[in-house]
């Protein structure tokens, strides 16, 4: 198993390096001057050039690139051009919101998807299955943004049950403690429900089909024919086998939630990494944008690895290899 991990990581390293070069080169083509935030009107051109020289912006791209890589390896991702603070700090400030959102979404996703998947599978072709299939159909078709907007329109504006935007109310953040916790939770409901309902459709569908498949397999028939109680057939034989791929899909689904956060964060105005990325690209703040792309790619690689590992851990057939 460790062989697989090492091989996957070895393959990922040149990929990440390739990506970093690409992103870096792209950033060179970004219009707008990286220094524009520091410039003041009426500055003499010599002065501007001196500042450019100082910031290393006149060096060829590969010199800038190697300097950037060297810094990254020392944990220095550069300074944000917009916020004038280290990139790590900007990302750190925004990261927690995305992490909270992702965790909450993942929890809700499985809390919704697993029971629905099981019910649909067990009641295959009967009313509950048909209702759940219809549910899958509807929500599989809705783009995240449309769903988010409708959620806000209905539950925030029409009924007023939940806040429409931001991740915590100012007063609660000031109070801290439980008040802050509840406020954050309250703010998380709509965005994470949006993500969970949309992201869960694939899981429900998969689980349902798994259960239907496993139900008709020979070992289940054997278990029934030797008189195993129906409950036990489900818990020990069917569920155990049907849930395997779900465990495998966990990694992918976390990655989905993570990357999907760009839309959700924008719709719900949450200061997370997705919105940070959008803002930094609009603001030509390439150190931040670069770092975020690399970070997301890294998360993607890790999620893939995690997915394979979980499958290996739970599926003895794959473990042998």
């Amino acid at each position: 198993m460790w062989k697989t991990v090492v091989r996957r990581l070895l393959i990922a390293i040149p990929q990440l390096i390739g990506l970093s070069v690409m992103v870096f080169v792209l950033a060179q083509f970004m219009p707008g001057d990286a220094l524009r935030g520091q410039l003041e009107p009426g500055m003499p051109p010599g002065e501007i050039n001196r500042m450019r020289e100082e910031a290393g912006l006149n060096d060829p791209w590969y010199v800038q690139y190697s300097r950037w890589v060297g810094n990254v390896l020392r944990g220095d991702l550069g300074r944000s051009l917009q916020h004038r603070v280290p990139v790590t700090k900007v990302i750190g400030d925004n990261m927690m919101n995305t992490v909270r959102l992702s965790i909450m979404t993942t929890i809700l996703l499985y809390a919704i998807a697993i029971p629905l998947g099981i019910i649909a599978g067990r009641k295959h072709n009967r009313l509950p299955d048909k209702i759940i299939m219809f549910y899958i159909f509807i929500f599989f078709s809705i783009p995240t943004i449309v769903m988010g907007l409708l959620m806000i329109f209905i539950f925030a504006f029409h009924y007023g049950w939940f806040p429409a935007m931001n991740s915590v109310s100012v007063i609660a953040a000031f109070q801290g403690g439980w008040a802050e916790f509840w406020s954050r939770l309250h703010h998380l409901v709509l965005p994470s429900m949006t993500g969970a309902i949309l992201g869960g459709t694939a899981t429900i569908y998969y689980l349902r089909n798994q259960i239907i498949d496993v139900q008709s397999s020979d070992f289940v028939t054997t278990a029934r024919s030797k008189g195993t109680p129906e409950r036990r057939v489900y818990t020990r034989h069917i569920l155990r086998n049907a849930i395997l791929p779900i465990a495998g899909g966990m990694g992918a689904s976390i990655a989905f939630v993570f990357t999907g956060s760009i839309f959700i964060e924008t719709v719900f105005s949450i200061n997370g990494m997705g919105q940070l990325f959008v803002n930094s690209v609009s603001g030509r703040d390439w150190p931040v944008a670069n770092a975020l792309i690399m970070f997301y790619a890294f998360v993607g690689v890790m999620a893939g690895l995690l997915a394979d590992l979980t499958i290996m851990l739970v599926d003895p057939r794959i473990r042998i290899k």
């Binding site: 062989k3 090492v6 091989r7 070895l10």
Partner: protein, 308 residues
């Protein structure tokens, strides 16, 4: 001059392993096999699954890479060019496949299937082409109205006859028959085999007949090669092999042929037990370290055996 001459053919497949997926070893599917086929001759290639007999057929058709050795056709060395799709060699050597379900493209009409080689090599008008296809169909005992049907409308035996019609379309001089009947019902097997025999006489073709079924091979071939562990263990005429088997593996194979006479059941069982005991005892004489097959050496004008 021999029609086809295969010399010291080797086909090895690399095994990848380790963290970087480097080649850690080879599967030797065919490991040093030589034989030749005269015009109009039928040679049977017999062996258990995995013995490499199909790989020999595939390498002659250029469907797999060749690690070492040479293949000569009509005296010309074609080892390098055999993998090219469009070469004159293709007109002379054809193949009949085992799996009658996957060897015909399900999306094509019988007419298009049989006409495929004609379109590649002969510039025929639509009517000429249709005439040739009808002829070919009648050679394999099918009526012209089948030409506009799709493969799924036919039974296994009919499908294989379509496969035969396609293979003989260019009047090849050698056909590699890779287990042509083993996917078919017993009742249909004889029908297809008899067609193959008749066509051979009519068109004067040579067959390389690959099979694991000794009964079928006996019916079809005057010369036989027995394969085991990627090499020939015995080569000879039908008589040499069936009445005078010299290699212990051949003896076991022949002892394993089922017999329908119930009175001989006990005799057969005893015979098999004896041969098995012999096999255990004499194994080192026939296999190097219990696995490697020795080089063939002649024991008569027509008969060769691989043993010490």
């Amino acid at each position: 001059m021999a029609l086809l001459e295969v010399k010291d053919l080797k086909v090895h497949f690399p095994i990848h392993g380790g963290i970087l997926g480097r080649v850690v070893g080879y599967v030797k599917a065919v490991d040093g096999v030589s034989f030749s086929i005269e015009p109009g001759q039928t040679i049977g290639l017999v062996g258990e699954s995995g013995s490499g007999k199909s790989t020999i057929g595939k390498s002659i058709l250029g469907l797999t890479h060749i690690t070492a050795g040479t293949i000569r056709f009509d005296g010309k060395d074609i080892t390098k060019s055999v993998r090219k799709n469009r070469s004159p060699y293709r007109k002379s050597v054809q193949m009949i496949f085992q799996d009658v379900y996957s060897s015909l493209n399900p999306r094509k009409r019988v007419l298009d299937i049989i006409a495929e080689p004609l379109r590649n090599f002969e510039n025929l008008s639509k009517t000429e082409e249709r005439k040739r296809v009808d002829e070919l169909l009648s050679i394999v005992g099918m009526t012209p109205d089948n030409a506009s049907k799709y493969p799924f409308e036919f039974s296994g035996g009919q499908r294989q006859r379509i496969g035969v019609a396609r293979a003989i379309a260019l009047k090849p001089r050698l056909i590699v028959c890779d287990e042509p009947v083993s996917a078919l019902d017993l009742s249909v097997q004889a029908q297809v085999l008899n067609h193959l025999k008749d066509i051979q006489q009519e068109l004067k073709m040579a067959y390389l007949f690959i099979s694991h079924d000794l009964g079928v091979v006996k019916h079809m071939c005057e010369h036989l090669a027995i394969m085991h562990h990627a090499r020939f263990v015995e080569y000879g005429t039908r008589k040499d092999i069936y009445e005078n088997a010299a290699h212990i593996y051949t003896k076991r194979l022949i002892a394993a042929i089922p017999d329908i006479d119930p009175n001989k059941r006990k005799d057969n069982a005893r015979n098999r037990a004896e041969i098995n005991a012999l096999y255990e005892k004499e194994l080192p004489d026939y296999y190097r370290d219990g696995y490697g097959v020795y080089d063939l050496r002649p024991i008569s004008d027509t008969h060769q055996v691989a043993m010490l």
